[in-house]
Symmetry: C2
Subunit: 643 residues, 2 copies
C-alpha cells in the first residue's frame, strides 16, 4: 500500500510516478470509507484527489502557501499532511475537523469555512511576501461555484493588479452545489469547449496569465502544468476540469446530493456487514448544504470491521439512503411550494443554499421559475429581493444564519432604509443548527434585531412558523426576517389567522405571578419546561411569554409584568451579548425588576454536542428554574425584611 509510506508532503515528492495513480485510488477509498461512517463532503473531496497530490508533488508546502477556498475539500490534503490516521483508523475519525485548521497542521494557513475568500487571503499573503523580500509561491484553489461570490471578484481584481506570483487554481467541476448560475459560467463552458482557447476569456480580460487542463483527474498532467507555472512572477489562473464525486458511482451521478452526505451504506465487501452503516444520519438535518459539516460529521465511526483498503466497488444499489428526520426546513419548503402555487408573485430566492427550503431537485422543478438560485452571492441576493419587492413581487430569500453576515449592509440600506417588503427566512439559526465553528447560527440576533425598520420574528412551533411566514409575505410595509428553528419540530395550536404588525407585541401564553419567563423562538420550550419546574418544585406559578419578536420590546407587556412579578427570566437560542434578553434588561434597568438573561455564551464553539453546551451554559429547565427562584426569593426576603 502506497499510502502507508506517506507521512508528509515530502513523501509525495519521493513517489515513483507509477505509484501516483495507486495513491490516488487509495486516498479515494479511504475517503469513501470514512464518509460512509461519518458523513461529510463526499463529492467535492473525491473530485480533487489527483489535483491535491500534484500540488504537493510540485510545490513545497508549507513554505509555499496553499489555501483551499472554503476548505471543505481538504480531505486528501489532510491525508498527505500528517493526518491520514483520521481517515484510516476509525478510532481517530473524530480527531480532525472537516475544514482547514492551522491547529491541526502548519500546512493549513487559515481556518476557513465560508466560500470565496481564498484569493483575498492569498493577496494578503503575497503582499507580506513581497514586502519581506521572500520568494515562495502562493496558491489558491477555488471551485467554480465559489467564483461567483463578490469577494472572489474583488480579490481577482487585486491579484491581477499586484502583478507578482500568485497561482489561482480554478477547480471547475461544472457545478457549484446545484447548477451554476450567471454569465461567468457561460464563459467557463466556452473555455471547456475550446480547450481554453476561446479568445474572450474572463481571466485574461482581467490581466491574468491562463493555462487550461481538461484532464484534472490526471495527476501527471497536472504536475506538468504546475511545474510550468511554479515561481511565475505573474498572477496566473490554472483552469482545470475535474470530475466531482469521482470514484463513487452514486456521487458521480448525483453530485448535488453527494456534495455533502450523511453516513451511508458502503456495503464494503470484505466486511460483510452490509447494513451496519445505514445509520443515524440523513442528508439535510444540521447541514448548511453549501459548504458545511453537519453534526453527524463528528459521530464516531460505525463498525467497520477492517481498516484494510481493498479495492471496493461501490455502486448505486449498494447505497441505501437512511430515512429522513423531521426537519423545519422540509415544512418550510412545502409551505413555500403551496404559497407559490397559490400566488404567482411569491418567489423563493437563494444564494446557492436551496437546502434552506429543502429544495432538492424535485421541489425546484415544481417551483419552476418562482425558484431562483443566484449562486454564491449573498449581497446580490439581498439586493435582488429588494428590487423584486419594490415592484410588488413577494420574494423570500432563504439564507443560513452564518451566511447572512454577508448581506448586512444590504439589510440596512436596500432593505430597511427603503422599507422594501422582502422576506428573509434565516435557517439553522440555532444551537441545534450546524455545529462547525465556521457555520455557527448563534450570532445573528444581536445584528438582525437592531436594524431599524427590520422586523425579526422567532416562531416557536411549526404552526407559528406558518403564521409568521404568511404574514411576512403579505406585509407591504417593510422587510421581515423569520428565524427558522432547527432541531426537534414542535407542534402548536393551528393559528392561521394570527396577525402581526410592525409593532412588537408579545403573547402571554400562561398567566401567573412572581416570575415571568420570556422565552424566544427555539428556546421557548425550554422556558416552558423551566416554568413547569418552578410550579412543581418551587410552588411558583410563573407567567410565560412567547415574545414572538426579537426586534424591539413590547413595552406594554413588560410594564404590565411589573405588577405581580419581581423577576424575569429571558431565554434566546443565540448569544446573549447584545441580544434579545439584553434589551429586556435595558428596559427594566432602572426599575426594581430582577432580570436573568439566559442564552448562549458569546464564543466560537466547534463540533459541539448541543446537549453538552446547554448543560454547561446552565440552560436546563432545572438550573434555570433554580436561578429564577433564587432571584425571586432574594427579592422577597429583602422585601419582607424591609417591612
Amino acid at each position: 500500500m502506497v499510502i502507508e509510506s506517506i507521512n508528509n508532503p515530502s513523501d509525495v515528492k519521493k513517489l515513483k510516478s507509477g505509484d501516483i495513480e495507486i495513491l490516488a485510488d487509495e486516498i479515494r477509498r479511504a475517503i469513501i470509507r470514512k464518509m460512509s461512517a461519518t458523513g461529510g463532503h463526499v463529492a467535492s473531496n473525491l473530485g480533487i484527489v489527483e489535483l491535491t497530490i500534484a500540488l504537493h508533488r510540485v510545490f513545497d508546502i508549507p513554505r509555499d502557501r496553499l489555501i483551499f477556498d472554503v476548505s471543505h475539500q481538504t480531505y486528501a490534503h489532510k491525508i498527505l499532511t500528517g493526518r491520514k490516521k483520521a481517515f484510516l483508523d476509525r478510532e481517530h475519525f473524530g480527531d480532525i475537523s472537516g475544514f482547514a485548521d492551522p491547529a491541526e497542521s502548519e500546512c493549513d494557513p487559515f481556518r476557513l469555512g465560508h466560500t470565496s475568500t481564498s484569493i483575498s487571503l492569498a493577496c494578503g499573503l503575497a503582499q507580506a511576501r513581497d514586502m519581506k523580500g521572500e520568494k515562495h509561491n502562493i496558491i489558491a484553489v477555488i471551485g467554480d461555484g465559489s467564483l461567483s461570490g463578490g469577494i472572489a471578484f474583488e480579490a481577482l481584481n487585486r491579484a491581477s493588479e499586484a502583478c507578482t506570483n500568485m497561482i489561482i487554481v480554478v477547480n471547475d467541476n461544472e457545478m457549484s452545489i446545484a447548477e451554476n448560475h450567471g454569465g461567468l459560467y457561460g464563459n467557463l463552458a466556452k473555455l471547456r469547449e475550446t480547450d481554453g482557447k476561446y479568445p474572450n476569456n474572463f481571466f485574461t480580460s482581467l490581466g491574468f496569465e491562463y493555462v487550461f487542463e481538461r484532464d484534472g483527474n490526471n495527476a501527471e498532467k497536472l504536475c506538468e502544468i504546475f511545474q510550468s507555472v511554479k515561481d511565475s512572477q505573474q498572477p496566473v489562473v490554472v483552469h482545470v476540469v475535474t470530475q466531482k464525486g469521482k470514484g463513487l458511482e452514486a456521487a458521480e451521478k448525483e453530485k448535488e446530493k453527494w456534495h455533502w452526505h450523511a453516513p451511508f451504506d458502503g456495503r464494503i465487501s470484505e466486511c460483510g456487514n452490509s447494513n451496519s452503516n445505514a445509520a443515524n444520519g440523513n442528508n439535510s438535518v444540521g447541514d448548511n448544504s453549501r459548504d458545511s459539516v453537519s453534526q453527524e460529521d463528528n459521530l464516531p465511526g460505525s463498525d467497520l470491521c477492517s481498516e484494510n483498503l481493498q479495492k471496493d466497488n461501490f455502486k448505486d444499489e449498494d447505497l441505501k439512503m437512511p430515512a429522513k428526520k423531521e426537519d423545519y426546513r422540509t415544512y418550510l419548503g412545502e409551505f413555500m411550494l403551496k404559497k407559490m402555487q397559490s400566488d404567482n408573485r411569491v418567489l423563493a430566492v437563494t444564494a446557492a443554499t436551496p437546502s434552506v427550503f429543502d429544495f432538492f431537485e424535485d421541489k425546484r422543478v415544481k417551483a419552476d421559475s418562482q425558484y431562483i438560485d443566484l449562486g454564491i452571492a449573498e449581497q446580490n441576493a439581498a439586493g435582488f429581493v429588494c428590487g423584486c419587492a419594490a415592484e410588488g413581487l413577494k420574494p423570500v430569500m432563504g439564507v443560513y444564519s452564518s451566511f447572512i453576515m454577508r448581506s448586512i449592509d444590504q439589510l440596512f440600506e436596500e432593505a430597511a432604509l427603503n422599507a422594501a417588503p422582502a422576506v428573509f427566512a434565516v435557517g439553522n439559526a440555532s444551537i441545534w443548527g450546524t455545529n462547525d465553528v465556521t457555520h455557527l447560527g448563534i450570532f445573528d440576533i444581536p445584528i438582525l434585531s437592531h436594524i431599524p425598520g427590520l422586523v425579526y420574528l422567532a416562531p416557536t412551533t411549526l404552526e407559528e412558523m406558518y403564521s409568521m411566514m404568511n404574514w411576512a409575505i403579505s406585509c407591504k410595509d417593510g422587510p421581515v426576517a423569520v428565524r427558522i428553528p432547527a432541531g426537534k419540530v414542535y407542534r402548536g395550536k393551528s393559528e392561521p389567522n394570527v396577525s402581526y404588525s410592525l409593532k412588537c407585541e408579545y403573547c402571554v401564553t400562561r398567566k401567573g405571578s412572581g416570575i415571568a419567563v420570556i422565552a424566544a423562538g427555539g428556546f421557548y420550550h425550554l422556558g416552558e419546561a423551566a416554568a413547569e419546574v418552578l410550579s412543581e418544585k418551587y410552588a411558583i406559578s410563573p407567567t410565560v411569554v412567547n415574545p414572538r419578536y426579537l426586534s424591539g420590546v413590547d413595552a406594554e407587556t413588560l410594564e404590565n409584568l411589573k405588577t405581580g412579578h419581581n423577576a424575569v427570566l429571558t431565554l434566546e437560542d443565540g448569544v446573549v451579548n447584545g441580544g434579545f434578553g439584553a434589551e429586556i434588561a435595558r428596559y427594566y434597568a432602572d426599575s426594581d425588576m430582577k432580570v436573568l438573561v439566559r442564552g448562549l455564551k458569546n464564543e466560537f464553539i466547534d463540533r459541539y454536542d448541543p446537549a453538552e453546551v446547554l448543560e454547561s451554559s446552565g440552560l436546563t429547565a432545572e438550573k434555570l428554574a433554580l436561578d429564577a427562584f433564587e432571584a425571586y426569593q432574594a427579592f422577597e426576603t429583602r422585601s419582607n425584611q424591609d417591612r
Copy 2:
C-alpha cells in the same frame, strides 16, 4: 434660458436638438453655483450632465426604470425631474438631499448612498417586470469605480444570465475617487484605447452585448446610442467615457479633491462678492469622501446676490480653499505616516476611502508602498488585511462605520475566528460623523462589540487614540478595532505607555459615590459635563469611568461600583439598542443597581443637526444629570423608607 422650460422629463424630449448643449451648460452652471454655496459632489455631477439629458431624451422615466448607482451623481437628474428649484433658488437649496430619494420624485426608484448596488436592484426590477409581462426598459448607471465592489460583479453575473432587457451604462471617467485599482481597470483602459474594439472584453466575456462611446459628454451621440439599445431584449453594457469635473477647471484638474467639495469661492462675476463663499466648510470634516454628503451639504446657501445663470468662467485662481478644521482624521493620518516610517511592516489599507486617514495625494506619496487602496471592495480589504497579518505585517484597514457593514462576515470568519492581528480604524463612527441617512455612523457598536475575539476600543481624546492605535498595531493576539471619534478634537494627558490587553479593563477617571457615569468614546466628555452638573447642582460627587472598551464588560470594576453607588449612567456615541450600555444593564440586571442607558435612538435620521438630535434625545449634561439624580434619589428615598 432653456432650463426655464424644463419641468419634467417630457420637456427634455420636446427640446430642439440645438438647445441640448445650452441646457447642459445651464445645468452645469446651476450645479456649480449651488455647490459653491453648499458643497456637494461636484466633479461626479459635472461629468454626467449630457449623459443624464440623453437618458431622459430617449427613455421614458419613470415608466422605464432608471437607477443611478450610489446616486450622488443625480443633480442633473433632479433638475430634469421637477426639482430644479433646489438648484436655482437658494431659498430652496436645502429642499432636497444629495442622493436619490423616492420621497422627492417617482423618478427615483430607491434611496441609495452605498456604491455598487444598482445592478443588483435592477435585476430585481427586471425579474418583476418579466414575471408581470411588462415591457419597460431598466437602466442602471454605474461608475467605473463602483464596478469593483463585489455586489456589482455578483449582479453582473446574474444580469447576463437572465437574458432579458437591461441596459447597464458604465460611466467611465477613468477614476473612482482616487486612482482606479485592479485588473478590471486595465481592461477598461484597453477598451478606451481601441474605441471598444479590444477583443478580450470583460463585459462580453460575461455574455453582455457591448456598445462603446468615447464622447460621453456629447448628448447627441449618446442619444443615438441609447436609441439603438432601447427595448433591447438582451442585457447590454453601454460603455461611455465622460470627463469628471467637466466645466470647472479646478475640478477637471483635481478630480479627487473635487469629487466631493465643501462650499467654495466661485467668484461669481456678476455678484462681485468675491470672498463671500470662502465659508465654513472644508473638504474632509464630516465627509466619507467616497460617496457621501457632509453636514455642510445642508447648510443654507450663502449670500449669492443673484440667481441668474450667466456664463461664468471658473479658473483655479478663482477658487480659494477654506482653512481646514481640526479633525481626528488628520491626526490619524499623521500618526500612520510616522508609524509607517518607523516600522516598514505597518500598512495603511483602504477600500477607496483614503480620507479615513486624511490621505490626500501628498500623504499617499509619503506613505508610498505602505499605503494600499484596494478600490471599492470592503470584503476583500478585510480579507486582505487578515492575510497580511497572518504573515507578520501590521495592517490597518481604515474604513467608515457605514461601510464596515460590508465586511461583517470577514470580521467574524477571517479576522476573529483566525485571531488575525489586523487593525480596523473605524471612522465617522459618531453622531458628529456624516449626517446623511445612507452614511450614518451610529449603528456599528451593536455589531462590532459582539464579535467574539474582536476587541473594540473607543478613545476619548487624541492622546488616547494614539495609545490605542499603538497598542492595536503592536497586538499579536487578535484583531482590534478602534472607533475613531468625530467632531471636536479633545486633548488629554499624554499616555504613551498605557497598555491594553484583550481583556476589557475600564479606567476610573474620577472617584466619587452615589452615581457612576460610564461614558464611552465620543460621549465621554458629555459624561464629564453631566458629572459636573451633578456636583454643582445636586451636591453629588459621582464616579466617572472611561470604559475604553466597547467589547465586553469589566466585571471587576462593575462589581466594585456596587459599593457606594446605587445608580449607573452609561453613555455611548451610537444607538443604545444592543450596544455598550445594554451590556452593562445586562450585567446589573439581577442586582439592585439602577442603570440608565443613554445614547442615540435606533432610527434612520437624515440631514440632521447633531445638537438638535442630542437635545431631543435627552443627551445634554443638564438632562442627563437630572435623570441620573432622579434615579439615585428614588432609590435613596425608598431605602430610607424601608429603614
